[in-house]
Structures are given as C-alpha cells and as structure tokens.
C-alpha cells in the first residue's frame, strides 16, 4: 500500500506502476480533476486545503481497508492540496488485482470513502473573481461521516 497527501502535481502513472505485478491481471486507475464548470458557474481554479496529519492517516486507513476487504488488491492513492488549475488532477487511485471485479470494487471503495471522510476542503475561484467553499452535500451534520 502507498498513500500520501501531496502539494505537487500527482503522478498517476507512477501509482499505476506501483500496484502492477506479474500476478496482476487488472490495473484500474482513477483520476479526479478540476472541472471548468460547477453548478453552471465558470471555475478558474480550486484551492484545496486539508487537516493534513489527519488526512494522511485517514487516507492510509482507507487504502489499508480496501486491501483488507478485497483480498489480493494492491492499492496506492494520492490527494493533492494547494492551488489547482482547471484540468489538474486532485486525486489519483490505482488498484492492481488478479481479477477485474475486485479491482473495480476496491477502486470505488477508496474514492467513495475519500469523498465521505477525508478531511479536505476546496474553495473554488470563479471567472467573475469571487470564491466560495464547496460543500459536497448539503452541509447538514446528518450527511457527515459518523463518529467511530
């Protein structure tokens, strides 16, 4: 397993190489990138911030959970923080597995858990010069991950 919160450009190909192996029939690489529009507004960039030590531990936990749930999976994930331009990658998740079904399931597990509980926030900058924190859900406490 490999995971990191980084403040440089992500290296999806390096992550994919890290999970490849001779017993590995399937490699799945997910890359999430900054979109040019959100809710109809033209986005010029996104600033990601994190509660970094917790985010690093949480991402490592998520990757370890995926490897435990999907036996044989090799998982590597990185999330970027800082100022990103449109088209730049914010998150990359690579999964290697002998069988494609487990590769898809493990990859999906990681991205859904990242969205649910990684303490990372983003502030969008718009073409009109304004900027705003983006809340994935409604912001209601009920939508948040429960205490463990």
């Amino acid at each position: 397993m490999r995971s990191a919160i980084v403040d440089r450009a992500l290296d999806p190909a390096g992550l994919a190489a890290a999970v490849s192996a001779p017993d590995c029939g399937a490699v799945l690489l997910f890359v999430g990138a900054v979109r040019e529009t959100n809710d109809g507004r033209e986005v010029s960039g996104i600033e990601y911030t994190a509660y970094r030590p917790m985010a690093e531990r949480e991402l490592a936990d998520i990757v370890r959970e995926a490897e435990a749930r999907f036996a044989g999976a090799r998982v590597a994930a990185e999330h970027r923080v800082g100022a990103l331009a449109v088209g730049e990658a914010s998150v990359a998740i690579a999964v290697g597995h002998g069988h494609r079904g487990a590769a898809y399931d493990a990859s999906r597990y990681v991205i859904e858990e990242v969205k649910r509980r990684l303490p990372v926030w983003k502030r969008e900058r718009y073409a009109d010069g304004t900027r705003e924190w983006v809340h994935a859900g409604t912001g209601a406490a009920s939508a948040l991950p429960g205490a463990r």
Partner: protein, 80 residues
Amino acid sequence: MPLRVLLFASYADALGASEVDVTLPANATVRDVVAQLRARGGAERLPPAPLVAVNQRYAGPDTPVSERDEVAVIPPVAGG
C-alpha cells in the same frame, strides 16, 4: 481546563480564526467543546452538531476530552 480547538475552511472563516481557546469543565466531552464554540461570535454559521475529531479521529458527542487532546471541528469534507 483550557483547550485549543482547531478550525478549518468555512468554520475558520465563520469564527475568524483557525484556532480558538476555550475553557471547559472537568470531565468535559466533545459536546461541551461544541457548546463553548457556539457561544462565540460567528458561530451561528456552524451547524448545531458539527463533526469533531479528537486526536485526528472522528469522535461522537460523548467522547471525553482532556487538555492533552488535539480537538478539531471538521466542516463537511469536499475532497476528491
């Protein structure tokens, strides 16, 4: 007892600081931390029961806190 609470993103904007100091009773819990925060200016922009992490793990309202703990209030996350 005194406790420094970490704030992030929109919550830091709401309270005008990325760290605030609160004073808690003995045997305090996460619930007490939230009650102290909600008494401050700008806290009306926080939800009634914001998510809290104690020592970098999500923690329920009954989780005990001591002055040696790292306590953070966590806005709705938006990673990915």
